[in-house]
């Protein structure tokens, strides 16, 4: 028994020794980790949860449906719109109910991830004091604090991107393919976390291939495909599960490309970059110009800011601020990498310039921390919105109790909100994560569940139609509003028992047939 603490501590110490090179890295890691954890507790105190938005709730619900969704526990529940890496990472923690319902499972993962980002940024800069400064600047940001303490995927994707940039820099400096393989490994994981990292992977391939061909080492091009493994495996996943390699684009709920002009998007980009880093963006552009001959520094920094460039070039609709946040490490690293080339007076001036340009946005950022929302820029951050939804789903839960309920994961992520915020097992819910049985339930809910919750929406909502097409014209919300025959049959079996601001809750008035699914009881 006395050996137990030693048995736990010794391997942990070995892992830390393996991951962190020296005491400075240890201090950086734990400082960042503890700051994020503290911020998570602050969010918990202020809002009662750490969910920045509805997506954050879904990021805990999805992994739970893999094993707590009897009898439809299925890896296919990882789905297709969101990439799976964060969901897989968070699995061990969502087994614990308090961590699941408060969002703290994601807080712990992202706190660790933030510590990792700071350490890798420190290493990337390559100079001790400037490295520490880079980590500190990254941490002193309202969006870092927020996304490092909420169950969102951006922070995890940033870690893999920064890791890839760091190993790519080492490859460039040492001309070592093993370093490139490490970079590829980080990108494989990154491209399975956020789609922005796909741009990084393609950029790495372009840099690597052109460099090796230029050096006359064409056989090394055989290594160039490695960063694509994550992307290819995702396409295969989509083909294997959904019979369409591009289902992640085609499924209802995936990103749609609107008709917003390039100039409006440019406006979004400038707004977003300014909200995240002040005028650091301008300094980053200056750094790119001055570093154009220093490719070992410029190429990894370009990888870091590539998410911003990606959104600028390809996004033709709204652009949430968190999409640009993924470029923050690059915006911080670029001027500091430039500073490493200067001697003391110029270096000090550069650091001062970084401070000035970065801190002008602090009045805005302080309000973000204080209110948990952003004003004046396009953002989905809203802790108070989640708190409001919590009140609404709690009211529904009081009516439904632990009875089987038909919900939908579309339209404001109702089923995830219901499961997570009211601590209801996904096995008590019928939703898209019970596919294909879901089709049967939607067709005749009165045979399978006691309660049905329908979103209040307008008849001409275009999303309703696309979801209905996807679910073989059986989508119960669509049919409630558009199929009078089905609606009248439905109302013969169900009575309206509760109306909230956004939802109608119906209760089964008669029990025609006992449930047909093993493991679920009415």
């Amino acid at each position: 028994m006395r050996d137990i603490p030693r048995r736990i501590v010794a391997p942990l110490a070995n892992v830390i020794r393996f991951l962190l090179k020296d005491k400075t890295e240890l201090v950086i890691f734990f400082t960042a980790f503890l700051v994020e954890m503290a911020f998570g507790f602050y969010l918990l105190y202020k809002w009662g949860h750490t969910f920045a938005c509805g997506d954050a709730v879904s990021h805990l619900y999805i992994p739970r449906t893999l094993f707590d969704n009897q009898p439809f526990n299925n890896f296919a529940n990882l789905g297709t719109v969101w990439l799976p890496m964060f969901h897989l990472l968070v699995i061990p923690l969502i087994l614990i109910d308090p961590l699941y319902t408060t969002g703290f499972a994601g807080t712990i993962i992202n706190s660790l991830v933030t510590g990792g980002i700071c350490v890798v940024l420190y290493r990337l800069i390559g100079e001790k004091k400037l490295g520490i400064l880079a980590s500190a600047l990254f941490m002193c940001n309202a969006f870092t604090l927020t996304y490092g303490a909420t169950p969102m995927m951006e922070q995890t994707a940033i870690l893999f991107t920064v890791l890839a940039a760091y190993y790519f820099k080492r490859y460039w400096e040492k001309d070592d393919t093993v370093e490139f393989m490490k970079c590829s490994l980080a990108l494989i994981l990154g491209t399975l976390t956020r789609y922005e990292t796909w741009a990084v992977a393609f950029l790495v391939i372009i840099f690597f291939t052109s460099r090796e061909l230029k050096n006359g080492q064409s056989y090394r091009v055989a290594y160039a495909h490695l960063p694509l493994w994550g992307i290819v495996s995702w396409l295969f996943w989509n083909l294997a599960i959904f019979r369409d390699p591009l289902m992640f684009i085609r499924q209802p709920g995936s990103v749609t490309f609107g008709d917003v002009s390039f100039w409006l998007v440019t406006n979004y980009v400038f707004q977003g970059v300014f909200a995240i880093s002040g005028a650091l963006g301008l300094l980053a552009i200056l750094s790119v110009v001055l570093l154009h001959r220093k490719s070992s520094q410029l190429s990894p920094a370009m990888l870091l800011i590539s998410p911003i460039i990606l959104h600028w070039l390809f996004m033709r609709s709204w652009s949430w601020i968190r999409l640009f946040y993924m470029g923050l490490p690059g915006l911080v690293a670029l001027p500091l990498l430039l500073a490493t080339n200067f001697k003391k007076p110029l270096k000090v001036m550069m650091i001062a310039l970084v401070f000035i340009t970065y801190s002008i946005v602090y009045p805005f950022q302080i309000s973000v921390v204080a209110t948990g929302s952003t004003s004046g820029v396009v953002s989905d951050m809203g802790f108070s919105d989640v708190s409001t939804w919590k009140g609404e789903v709690m009211a529904i839960k009081q009516v439904t109790g632990n009875q089987l309920t038909l919900l939908t994961a579309h339209f404001g992520a109702l089923s995830p909100l219901f499961s997570v915020l009211t601590n209801t097992s996904p096995s008590r819910i019928f939703d898209e994560y019970d596919y294909p049985f879901y089709l049967e339930v939607m067709e005749k809910p009165w045979k399978h569940c006691s309660f049905v919750v329908i979103e209040k929406t307008s008849l001409d909502n275009p999303e309703l139609k696309s979801i209905n097409d996807y679910y073989e014209e059986k989508y119960f919300v669509y049919r409630y509003y558009n199929d009078s025959e089905w609606r009248s049959t439905f109302l013969q079996h169900y009575e309206l028992i509760l109306e909230t601001k956004h939802y109608l809750v119906f209760r089964l008035v008669e029990r025609l047939i006992q449930p047909q699914v093993d493991g679920r009881r009415l």
């Binding site: 093993v178 393989m181 055989a222 495909h225 495996s233 019979r243």
Partner: protein, 386 residues
């Protein structure tokens, strides 16, 4: 090869006070070409270790002095004697045409305290015997093995080269550091005579080298990896390599049974299971792959969800074989390719990187050999043509 691995060692070249043991090099010969015999003989004659004897062991049908092989051997013996190395030809009793039987015949005549084994066509540096003996004496190893690389310029040779490279660079050091032992190789094997006698000589099975590892592990003998190389010419053709693989796999099946019964620690067993289970895993992989690919293509590309055969809906398939095959496809293949590319990175072998991309195809070939091994006699050697 400019590689570095902690598990491979060289003696510190410090003088030791335990005498200079006699080393007997056993070289079994069967239907070899002139240049193959001379390649090994030249390397042995160039050795810096002076207390060396070389015993060429031949089958009775090649003992006739008028035969070509015998004449080449006499030439090799002349060469060795010219360097003051004792050398002679030993004829086996012909009872069993297996390499280990020939080695045991040679062992009876050998006078050395350390026995080493080489094949015809092996080439190795002139300090190898000295390095091996020094390491054994300095570190107290009972058995020592240098790196063995098989290669040639043909496509099959390049694949084998990649395969052995990963084996030597990744698996053997990992096995040695984890369990203290590793599966031995028949080329460049150095072992103390008394240790060999303790386990009853070379086990007379198809893969005597691998089998010997189990016996030595049971006796808790010390294994060492020598930082030196033996280069062997790879099989001449795909057919020849197929026969070699079949022989290895048949031998591994014998070793597998012995490992199950062996009284050795679990970690040692697990390490030995990795290669010895290869005939089963590789053959099973190939068979299930065929099923899986059919299933998968049917699912992904046919217009309706319609399966080609009823077995595709069998519970055993959908619950076990499917996941095993999916694991091989999505995890196994990338791991094999990644570890192969990682092994050759930073080395001269890096030029073979494009070939490493197709290594799963080579493993399909290996799978076919694994299936064939189940129908092979454990007593038939099958000469590898190089």
């Amino acid at each position: 090869m400019p590689e570095s691995s902690v598990a491979y060692e060289k003696s510190s070249n410090l003088p030791w006070n335990r005498g200079s043991p006699m080393v007997s090099a056993l070289v079994p010969i069967f239907k070899e070409r002139t240049e193959s015999i001379l390649t090994t003989a030249k390397c042995l004659s160039a050795q810096t270790w002076w207390r060396l004897e070389v015993l060429f062991i031949i089958e009775p049908e090649e003992a006739d002095l008028l035969l070509e092989t015998r004449r080449h051997l006499e030439e090799a013996i002349m060469l060795l004697r010219s360097r003051a190395i004792r050398a002679k030809v030993i004829v086996t009793d012909g009872k069993l045409k297996l390499k280990p039987h020939a080695l045991n015949c040679g062992l009876k005549e050998a006078k050395g305290e350390i026995i080493c084994v080489y094949d015809a066509d092996d080439s190795f540096p002139e300090e190898q015997v000295e390095d091996a003996v020094s390491l054994m004496l300095e570190k107290g190893y009972d058995v020592v093995q240098p790196k063995v690389f098989r290669s040639s310029k043909t496509l099959v040779g390049r694949y084998i080269s990649l395969d052995t490279f990963v084996w030597q660079r990744k698996f053997l050091p990992a096995a040695r550091s984890w369990a203290g032992i590793f599966p031995l190789s028949g080329e460049g094997l150095y072992i103390k005579r008394k240790v060999l006698e303790e386990v009853g000589g070379f086990p007379e099975v198809l893969t005597e080298d691998a089998y010997l590892s189990i016996l030595l592990a049971e006796k808790k003998k010390k294994f060492g990896l020598l930082d030196s190389e033996v280069y062997e010419v790879a099989p001449r053709s795909w057919r020849s390599h197929f026969r070699q693989r079949v022989r290895w796999f048949r031998g591994y099946l014998t070793c597998l049974g012995r490992t199950v019964r062996a009284k050795i620690p679990l970690s040692t067993k697990l390490i030995l299971f990795i290669p010895f289970l290869a005939p089963i895993t590789c053959s099973f992989a190939l068979v299930t792959w065929v099923f899986f690919v059919t299933y998968w293509l049917t699912w992904a590309f046919l217009p309706l969800i319609w399966f080609m055969a009823p077995w595709m809906l069998h519970w055993l398939y959908t619950n076990a074989i499917f996941y095993w095959s999916a694991f091989l496809a999505y995890i196994g293949n990338p791991i094999v390719m990644f570890s192969c590319m990682h092994s050759i990175a930073r080395t001269k072998m890096e030029r073979n990187a494009p070939l490493a991309l197709t290594i799963p195809l080579y493993w399909i070939f290996v799978g076919a050999a694994a299936i064939a091994s189940f129908f092979r006699s454990p007593k038939f050697w099958g000469k590898t043509e190089r």
